[in-house]
Amino acid sequence: MKALGLLALAAALGGCGAAPFDYHAASEIKQGPGAFTGNDGAFVFRPGQAKPAAASSEAEEFERWKRSAEGSAEYREFQDWREWREWKQRNAR
């Protein structure tokens, strides 16, 4: 019955619009970083991800290039103009 009292207290306080949080039992392995495992807190393996990851990073790289100044239409026009100037100088001689 005392235990019920404990829970009633929790429920009463919980009724005050409390937001839930993730409780981590102190007897379990600590959350967060590890001495040898860095910020992951574990040696992490993602089987079968190496090849797709490369494809994914290439796609991301392409997207970054498109968004960059080098990927813009203005930049390509500028490059065309520079090539034309060089061609013109070579043919002027």
Binding site: L13, G14, C16, A26, G41, G48
Partner: protein
Amino acid sequence: MPNRIAVISAAVGAALLALSGQAYAQATGIEVRLSGQVNRAIMHVDDGEDSNQFFVDNINSSTRFRLSATAPLTPGLRLGAIFEPEFPSNPSNAVSMATRDIAAEFNERHMDVFLEGGFGKVSLGQGDGAANGATEVDLSGTAVANWAGASLIGGGFGFRGDAGVFLGPTIGGSISNQDFESRYDRVRYDTPKFGGFSLAGSLGSSGSQDVRELALWYTGDLGGLGRLAAALGFSNQDAPVGGTEDEVVGGSVSWLHGSGLNLTLSHSQREFGGRDRDFLYAKLGYKFGRHAISLDWGKGEDQAAAGVESDMIGLGYVWAPVAWADIYAAVKRHSLDVSGAEDISLFMVGTRVKF
């Protein structure tokens, strides 16, 4: 003919591309994690007649490793597995004046598969019963040094009388927190959280007897009032031939104020062997920066024998200089309410390192 070959090749290529895309989608979600910890301490014990040092594995949170894997089955549905054995050498709850060294051996903790989604979580295998830990909710930050599991440090030491003879009761046998059926082979279901509350139920077998457990868990962030966590549990184990049922009701609540001040209470009542056995526990603590300190008190009634009480008072301190290490110290004194019984004093310093 060449056109037909080209069409078939294109179709096969497209199919392979689609299949590889599907395989990729599945493969990318699989994650395997290997983690663990080592928790070692030096413990000094004085039982009123004899005193000695012990190099122990702190069973409040034992040395272990964990291999876990999870993968999405479909959007919103995950399948996972946990393999976690412990490997304690000289367990702090088992060493005694007569047995200072106990060889390490692997003990199963979690050998579990689970499926989780919007419906909650279903677990199958060796793992926590629904109520395991319900008397041990603790937000103090000092649980690795002192907590409701009072018998996990020094539980193997026996009380002596005036003449130095052992009276029979040990710390473990006189002041257990009676935390239900611990871990066993079971099927368990956890509901999603509703306003901080979740319900768990498990059915399984332990000690060759059927076991059933129910528990209500709660967590709430109260803003300026701090954080509150609580649990209430029930367990029942069938009676073996010639024995009695084992039934436990209990719970705990822990409150951590934003200032660092914290309070933890625990209570359990066990009906077993024709006797009601009680456990009461209270802890007052303070967390500041990377430090936490607490004073705790516990009492076991009718556990060692009908009418016999056992008390404990302790002080714990934990320093976490980095996120992956705890350096701790604990001192406590156990008393048995039997005429002529000597107190048992324990002092322990140690460290828990997560790798």
